[in-house]
C-alpha cells in the first residue's frame, strides 16, 4: 500500500486540503475527492481539453497534472468561473450564441475561453488558435468562436469571416423558427449537467473488459485466476456465467456478448470484471489471460467475397445484396461513359463523451440502466435479453449524452448488457465507462466502402444511365450494416434524373472493426462517389460542373429518384444549387484568374444530396413514436418523448414545437430526457428523425389535450369551442383578441376542476410500397435536398488542404429553431471536412493503429472555414409544421464538395477518401516537383526504430 500525500489547494477561492494517493491526477481529485464533476474526462491524454482547469491562472489539462504537483497552488474549475451567481461573460455568450450542443466539451472550453479573455485574446486567428486544444465534435466551433468574439470586446471587430445566416424574424414572435435559449445550455455551460461518469451511487462497482488483441482466433482457454486475485475485484465473468442469452446483435443474432470459442475481430469481448475501483477493474482486465490460436483472417471486403476467402462466419462472408434495377442500363445510349472505382474510408464518431452507462439492480428482478445513448429502447431490449427479463422489468433512462452521431445507436446496448450482467452477478450497481483508446478501438465505425461506377451521358450532357456496384465492409458482425446498406443502395445516384439505373450493394463480413450507424448512414459514401462521377462526366462533356448538374437535377417535372419514387413538390434541388453557388460566388470565382501563389492552388467544388427523411421502408416497423404532455396547474408544461437529445437539439426542438402548439412561452416547457417507463417504444433516434418523430407525437398529444382545454377556455371566454386560439401565453377568442385569459389561469382552473391535464400522443409514418427485389418503389416518406459548395486552397507540394469556405443551401421545409439548425449545419460541415480530409482509420490487420485524438485527426477550431448558410423554406411535405430533418443532410455533401474542389485545384482525379497530405502527394505521383527524392530512399537503409513518437 502506497503512502498518501497531502494536497493543499486554493480551489475556486476556498482553501481546501485533500489526502490522496500519490498517483492521483488533479482531474480525479477534482471530480472524485472534491465532487466537482463539471470538469470532464474525454481522453485522459491531454488531447481533448475537456478537463481544462486554471492552474495559477493558466489553462492546463488536469488529466496530465499530478494532484501532488498542484499542492500549494490555485485551481479554478468551471464551477469557479461564475461570479456572485452569474455566469462568466464567455459562458453567457456561449448560451446566447448557441455555442452549446452536447455540452461535454463545454466546461473545458469555457475555462480556456475565460483564460483567453483574461489575456486579451487577439484577432480571429489567434482566438481560434487559443481554443484549438479544446476539441468539440458537435458545433463545428463557429458559434463558439462567435461567442468568444462577442465576449472579447464591446467594439467587436466586426469580423465578417463567420457571419451568421440571416432569417426573417418570425411573425408575432412565435416560438417556431426562433432562437430562444436552448433549455439545456445553461446547465451544460456551468458544469452542472451530470453525464454518466458524473453519477455515483453508494456501493457502486466499476466495470472493465478484457478484449481480444487479434482479429481472428480460436479461444483455447481463458485464465482468470490472476485477475480474480487483484485486490478489490468482485466478479470476473465469461460467457458461461450469463443468466440470459449470450447475444447482442440488434437485427441479426450473429454477435455474442462474450466470445465463446471464436474471436472474429480485435476488441471482441472475452471477460468482464467488476471491482471496487476503476484502477482494480482495469488492472484485472489486463491480467485476464487468453490462450488464442490464430486463425486466417480477411481484411478487405472485396477479397472477403472471393470464394476461397477465410470465412468470418460459417455461412460465408456475403451477408446481403441489395439492388435497384430500373430501366435497361445495357441498352441506354450514351456518347460519354466514365468508369471509376472509389475507395471510401470509414470514420470514427469521436463524440467527446466516451461510451458509458450505470446499471442499478433491484434484487434480481428489476434493473435500471442510465446510459449515454441514442436509443434507450434498443438498450432495454438488449439488457432484457442477456438477463432473461421481461422488457417491463428493465428501465432505461437516457443520461445526458455527450454526442452520438450514430455511434451511440447500437454500441450502448452492448455496454449496458455488460454492466447489467455484472450488476446481477454482484447485486451491486455497476458503472462502465470506456477509456478513450478502447472506445475508439472497439466501438462501431462509419463503413468503409468500395464503389464502382459506370455512368453515361449523351452529347447534350444529360445522364442516360448509371451503374453502381458497392461493397460495404461490415466488419465481423452485422450490427445494423444491412440497414446502412439499404440506405446507401437507394441513395447511390443523388438528386439526378437518370432514365436507367442498376445498383448492386453487397455487404461483406471481414475481420475488421464492425461498421455501424454514422450520421448519413451510408449516404455520405455513395454521395461522395456520385458527385465525383458527376464532375468526371462534366469534364468529359466539356461542361461546367454547375451547368452539368443543372441539366440533370430533379425538378417539379422530372421527379423520379433512383428508385422511381416521385419526390413530392416542390422539388428544390435547383433552388439549393443556385443559392449555394450564389453564396459561394461560383461565377465570380470562375471568371477571375485564380491566385497561384507559389504552390498554393485554389479550387471550388459542388456536392449535392437527396436525403430520404426518416427511416427507410425496411425500417418502417420502427417508425413510430410516443409522447406525453402534462399541463401543470401553474401553466408550465412537462413533455416526455421517446427520442433522445445527444447534442443535436432535440430538447430545444420539442420545446419549441410544444410551446408553439400550446401557445406558451418556450421557457414554460420542460422536456425531460427519455425514460422507457414513461413513453412507449419510439424507435431509434437516427435518420434525422428526432424532431420529426417526437414533434409529431407531441402535436398529437396536444391535439388530444386540447379536447379538454378548449371547452374550458370557451366557457371562460364565452365563445365557441372551435374559436379558441392559444398563442402568446393566452387563450383568446378568434376575431376578438382582447377577449383572452392567461393559459396559466386556464391551467389552474383545469386543476381545480380536476380535469385531466395529461395526454399521450402517438405518431406513425404512412405506409409505403417498395419492392425490395428490384429496389423500386417508395423507400422514404419525403426527401430533403442540400447543396454544398466548397472553396479550398491546396498546398500542392505538402498536400495540405485548407477549406476556406463552405456555402450550404438546405431545403429544410420549416425552421423550428434557428440556432439549432445553424449549429447542425456548421457541425455537419466541419465533421464532413474531417472525414473528407484528415480522419483516417488506420487498420493494421484489423487493429486500429491510431486510437487517440493525437493520431485520429479531427478538426480543431483552427480548421474551421467560413460557413455561409442559405435556408430554403417551403410549404410542402414534412414533419411538424412542415419541418424536415437536418442532422444528416448537413454532413453528407461536404466531403464530396471538398473532393471536387481539390480535384479542381490540382487537375488530377482523387478516388480515395480521406484526402490526406500523403494521399495527395501519392496521387500527384510524378507530377510532384520533388517526386524524384523518394528514389533516394532506395539508396538508403531503413532504421528499425520508429522515426516519430511523442
Amino acid at each position: 500500500m502506497s503512502e498518501r500525500v497531502v494536497v493543499n489547494l486554493k480551489l475556486n477561492g476556498a482553501r481546501r486540503t485533500f489526502e490522496v494517493a500519490p498517483g492521483r491526477r488533479l482531474l480525479d481529485l477534482l471530480r472524485e475527492d472534491a465532487g466537482l464533476t463539471g470538469t470532464k474526462e474525454g481522453c485522459s491524454a491531454g488531447e481533448c481539453g475537456a478537463c481544462v482547469v486554471l492552474l495559477d491562472g493558466a489553462p492546463v489539462t488536469s488529466c496530465l497534472v499530478l494532484a501532488a504537483s498542484a499542492d500549494g497552488h490555485e485551481v479554478v474549475t468551471v464551477e469557479g468561473l461564475q461570479q456572485s451567481g452569474s455566469l462568466h461573460p464567455f459562458q453567457e455568450a456561449l448560451v446566447t450564441h448557441g455555442g452549446v450542443q452536447c455540452g461535454f466539451c463545454t466546461p473545458g472550453l469555457a475555462v480556456t475561453g475565460a483564460a483567453a479573455l483574461a489575456r486579451s485574446p487577439g484577432d480571429a486567428e489567434e482566438r481560434a488558435r487559443l481554443l484549438a486544444g479544446n476539441l468539440c465534435r458537435c458545433t463545428g466551433y463557429v458559434k463558439v468562436l462567435e461567442a468568444l468574439e462577442r465576449a472579447s470586446s464591446e467594439e467587436a471587430d466586426h469580423d465578417t469571416r463567420r457571419e451568421r445566416a440571416h432569417f426573417e424574424e418570425a411573425p408575432g414572435h412565435d416560438p417556431l423558427g426562433g432562437h430562444h435559449e436552448r433549455p439545456d445550455a445553461r446547465a451544460k455551460v456551468s458544469g452542472s449537467t451530470r453525464y454518466v461518469a458524473d453519477l455515483a451511487v453508494p456501493g457502486m462497482l466499476h466495470a472493465a473488459v478484457a478484449v481480444a488483441p487479434v482479429a481472428s482466433a480460436c479461444v483455447v482457454g481463458l485464465s482468470l485466476a490472476t485477475a480474480r486475485a487483484i485486490d478489490g475485484v468482485e466478479a470476473v465473468i465469461t460467457a458461461a456465467d450469463l443468466p440470459g442469452k449470450n447475444l447482442v446483435g440488434v437485427i441479426f443474432e450473429d454477435q455474442p456478448l462474450l466470445a465463446l470459442e471464436r474471436v472474429r475481430m480485435v476488441g471482441e469481448r472475452l471477460a468482464l470484471v467488476a471491482a471496487r475501483s476503476p484502477e482494480s477493474a482495469w488492472a484485472a482486465a489486463h491480467l485476464v489471460h487468453a490462450d488464442l490460436e490464430p486463425l486466417p483472417a480477411v481484411h478487405d471486403p472485396i477479397q472477403a467475397l472471393a470464394p476461397d476467402a477465410p470465412r468470418v462466419h460459417d455461412a460465408g462472408n456475403l451477408i446481403r445484396t441489395f439492388r435497384v434495377v430500373r430501366g435497361h442500363t445495357a441498352c441506354a445510349r450514351a456518347s460519354v461513359v466514365v468508369e471509376a472505382e472509389y475507395r471510401v474510408g470509414g470514420q470514427e464518431h469521436a463524440y467527446l463523451e466516451p461510451q458509458g452507462c450505470l446499471a442499478i439492480p433491484e434484487g434480481r428482478q428489476h434493473i435500471t440502466i442510465v446510459a449515454s445513448c441514442q436509443c434507450p429502447f434498443y438498450v432495454q431490449q438488449a439488457v432484457a435479453r442477456v438477463l432473461g427479463l421481461s422488457l417491463a422489468a428493465v428501465r432505461v433512462e437516457q443520461a445526458p449524452t455527450g454526442g452520438g452521431f450514430g455511434g451511440k445507436e447500437d454500441y450502448p446496448s452492448e455496454l449496458a448488457a455488460c454492466a447489467a450482467v455484472l450488476a446481477f452477478a454482484t447485486d451491486r450497481p455497476v458503472r462502465f465507462v470506456l477509456p478513450r483508446e478502447l472506445d475508439m478501438q472497439v466501438s462501431s465505425k462509419r463503413h468503409a466502402m468500395v464503389i464502382r461506377h459506370r455512368w453515361g451521358a449523351d452529347r447534350n450532357g444529360h445522364l442516360r444511365f448509371a451503374e453502381v456496384e458497392t461493397v460495404l465492409d461490415a466488419g465481423a458482425y452485422i450490427g445494423i450494416s444491412t440497414v446502412v446498406a439499404e440506405r446507401a443502395n437507394v441513395s447511390s445516384i443523388g438528386p439526378y434524373h437518370v432514365p436507367a439505373v442498376r445498383v448492386t450493394t453487397r455487404v461483406a463480413y471481414t475481420n475488421n472493426l464492425f461498421g455501424g450507424a454514422f450520421r448519413g448512414f451510408g449516404a455520405p459514401q455513395v454521395t461522395w462517389a456520385a458527385e465525383a462521377t458527376m464532375d468526371r462526366l462534366a469534364r468529359a462533356c466539356a461542361l461546367d460542373p454547375l451547368e452539368f448538374r443543372r441539366r440533370n437535377l430533379l425538378d417539379d417535372r422530372r421527379r423520379r429518384t433512383c428508385t422511381g419514387q416521385s419526390v413530392r413538390r416542390p422539388v428544390l434541388a435547383r433552388e439549393c444549387l443556385d443559392r449555394a453557388a450564389a453564396l459561394a460566388g461560383w461565377d465570380e470565382f470562375h471568371a477571375r484568374t485564380r491566385h497561384q501563389d507559389g504552390p498554393a492552388r485554389e479550387g471550388m467544388g459542388i456536392g449535392l444530396v437527396l436525403y430520404g427523411c426518416n427511416l427507410h421502408h425496411g425500417g418502417q416497423h420502427l417508425d413510430r413514436s410516443s409522447a406525453v404532455v402534462i399541463l401543470q396547474s401553474d401553466g408550465s408544461v412537462v413533455v416526455r418523448v421517446g427520442l433522445t437529445e445527444m447534442g443535436q437539439g432535440n430538447l430545444a426542438a420539442c420545446q419549441t414545437i410544444a410551446a408553439q402548439a400550446l401557445g406558451v412561452d418556450p421557457a414554460q416547457v420542460q422536456v425531460w430526457q427519455p425514460d422507457t417507463t414513461t413513453v412507449a417504444d419510439s424507435g431509434p433516434t437516427v435518420a434525422s428523425r428526432g424532431a420529426h418523430a417526437s414533434g409529431m407525437a407531441i402535436l398529437n398529444a396536444v391535439e388530444r389535450l386540447r379536447k379538454r382545454i378548449d371547452p374550458l377556455a370557451a366557457e371562460l371566454l364565452g365563445c365557441d369551442e372551435r374559436d379558441v386560439l392559444l398563442a402568446g401565453g393566452f387563450a383568446s377568442a378568434r376575431g376578438d383578441p382582447d377577449r383572452r385569459v392567461p393559459i396559466a389561469r386556464l391551467a389552474g382552473e383545469m386543476a381545480s376542476r380536476r380535469i385531466e391535464g395529461i395526454s399521450t400522443g402517438w405518431y406513425r409514418s404512412t405506409e409505403r410500397r417498395f419492392d425490395a427485389a428490384t429496389g423500386v418503389g417508395d423507400p422514404y416518406e419525403f426527401y430533403a435536398i442540400a447543396c454544398h459548395v466548397a472553396q479550398v486552397t491546396v498546398d500542392a507540394e505538402l498536400g495540405l488542404v485548407r477549406v476556406v469556405e463552405v456555402s450550404a443551401a438546405h431545403d429544410v421545409g420549416r425552421v423550428i429553431h434557428r440556432d439549432v439548425l445553424e449549429g447542425q449545419i456548421q457541425g455537419g460541415v466541419v465533421q464532413g471536412i474531417g472525414w473528407g480530409t484528415s480522419e483516417e482509420l488506420k487498420l493494421d490487420r484489423g487493429r486500429l493503429a491510431n486510437p487517440s485524438f493525437t493520431d485520429y485527426i479531427i478538426p480543431t477550431s483552427a480548421d474551421v472555414p467560413r460557413i455561409r448558410i442559405a435556408v430554403v423554406e417551403s410549404e410542402g411535405p414534412g414533419g411538424p409544421f412542415g419541418a424536415k430533418g437536418i442532422g444528416e443532410p448537413s454532413l453528407i455533401p461536404t466531403a464530396a464538395a471538398v473532393r471536387n474542389a481539390v480535384v479542381d485545384a490540382l487537375g488530377i482525379e482523387i478516388d480515395r477518401l480521406p484526402i490526406t497530405p500523403p494521399a495527395i502527394v501519392a496521387a500527384l505521383s510524378d507530377r510532384h516537383p520533388f517526386a524524384w527524392v523518394a528514389e533516394e530512399e532506395k539508396a538508403h537503409g531503413r532504421t528499425e526504430e520508429p522515426a516519430a513518437g511523442r
Binding site: 491531454g46 504537483s69 482495469w282 497530405p917 500523403p918 501519392a922 533516394e936 539508396a939 531503413r942 516519430a948
Partner: protein, 289 residues
C-alpha cells in the same frame, strides 16, 4: 484513474532532488508531466517514484553574457512569449508556440521536451541550429554538453540515470559583416494546430548582400530516430546563392541526412518529400528576404 506510481517526492533544492534520484533507481523526474503522465498511464513507462521538479526554481529565462539561458522547467508558453527569445531565437519561439495546444504549452517544459527525446520534439531542431549547450547535473557534479550530442534514439538521450537537465544556453549569433540573418521554424502535419510534426525543420542562414549564404544550419524533426542536423545539405549550399540548382542539390543531399520510416502518421516517402519541400522553401525564403 490514478497513474500507477507509489510515491511522489517534491524536493525544494536541486541537491535534494539529485540525492533522491541517485538513491532510487526506480525514480524519475517529472516536470510538466505532459509526456510522462501519458506514458505512465498507458504503461510505456513504469516508475514507482516520481520526483516533481516544480519546487526547484528551474524555470526562467535570463540574458547572460553571450547568450540566453533558459531554465529546464521553463514552460513553452513563456518561451513563445519571451521578447529576448523571439528576437534572438525566433525558431525556438515559434517551435515552443506549436507544441500541442495552449493548455499543453502552459504545462510542457523545455527540459521535458528534450529529455523525452522524441524524434518529433519540436524545440529540438531549433536548439540544434542554435547549437545550444545543455547543463546537466548529478550527484557527481555538473557537465555541459552540446545539444548535438544529446539525442541518441527514440526516447533515449545522453542523460544518465540520476542526472537532471537544469538549463539550456543559447549562444547569441555572431552575424558576419554585411550579412543578414534568416531564422525559421516550420512544421507540417495533418492539421494546423495541435499536431505532432510529421516533418519539422529549423533553419538559420546568414545571407550576404549578394544573396549568397555565408553560413547555414539546418535541422529536422520526425525524419530519423532522433532530431537531426542536416549537415550534408548545409555543406552543399554554404557559400552559394540558393538558386534552383543549389536548392536541388541541397534537397538531394538532404536525403542522405535523413532516414525516415513508414509509421502510423505518414509513410517514409511522404516524409522525404515534405522534408524536401520545407528545405526548398526555407532556402527560397532566405534568398528573398
Amino acid at each position: 484513474m490514478d497513474v500507477p506510481v507509489q510515491q511522489v517526492i517534491r524536493p525544494t533544492t536541486v541537491a535534494e532532488a539529485l540525492a533522491v534520484l541517485a538513491g532510487r533507481p526506480d525514480s524519475r523526474p517529472i516536470a510538466g508531466g505532459t509526456d510522462l503522465m501519458v506514458q505512465l498511464r498507458d504503461g510505456r513507462k513504469r516508475v514507482s517514484c516520481v520526483v516533481d521538479l516544480g519546487g526547484l526554481g528551474l524555470a526562467g529565462i535570463r540574458q547572460i553574457d553571450g547568450g540566453v539561458e533558459i531554465g529546464a522547467s521553463t514552460r513553452m508558453d513563456s518561451i513563445a512569449a519571451d521578447d529576448g527569445v523571439r528576437r534572438h531565437f525566433p525558431a525556438l519561439a515559434a517551435a515552443a508556440g506549436t507544441v500541442g495546444a495552449w493548455p499543453i504549452q502552459c504545462r510542457a517544459t523545455l527540459g521535458g521536451n528534450l529529455a523525452n527525446a522524441s524524434p518529433a520534439a519540436d524545440t529540438a531542431p531549433a536548439l540544434l541550429v542554435a547549437e545550444a549547450l545543455l547543463t546537466v547535473v548529478s550527484a557527481a557534479g555538473t557537465r555541459r554538453l552540446s545539444v548535438v550530442d544529446f539525442f541518441l534514439g527514440p526516447g533515449r538521450s545522453a542523460l544518465a540515470p540520476g542526472e537532471l537537465l537544469v538549463s539550456v544556453f543559447l549562444p547569441l549569433v555572431q552575424i558576419p559583416p554585411d550579412c543578414r540573418l534568416v531564422e525559421r521554424f516550420v512544421k507540417t502535419g495533418p492539421r494546423l494546430e495541435q499536431v505532432i510534426s510529421v516533418v519539422s525543420l529549423a533553419g538559420r542562414a546568414a545571407v550576404r548582400t549578394d544573396g549568397a549564404l555565408e553560413s547555414v544550419r539546418l535541422a529536422l524533426g520526425s525524419v530519423a530516430p532522433t532530431p537531426v542536423r542536416a549537415q550534408r545539405a548545409e555543406t552543399v549550399v554554404t557559400g552559394r546563392r540558393p538558386d534552383p540548382v543549389a536548392r536541388r542539390e541541397a534537397v538531394q543531399a538532404l536525403q542522405h541526412d535523413i532516414a525516415p520510416i513508414d509509421d502510423v502518421r505518414a509513410p517514409a516517402r511522404y516524409r522525404r518529400i515534405a522534408a524536401a519541400v520545407l528545405l526548398d522553401r526555407f532556402l527560397q525564403e532566405a534568398a528573398r528576404v
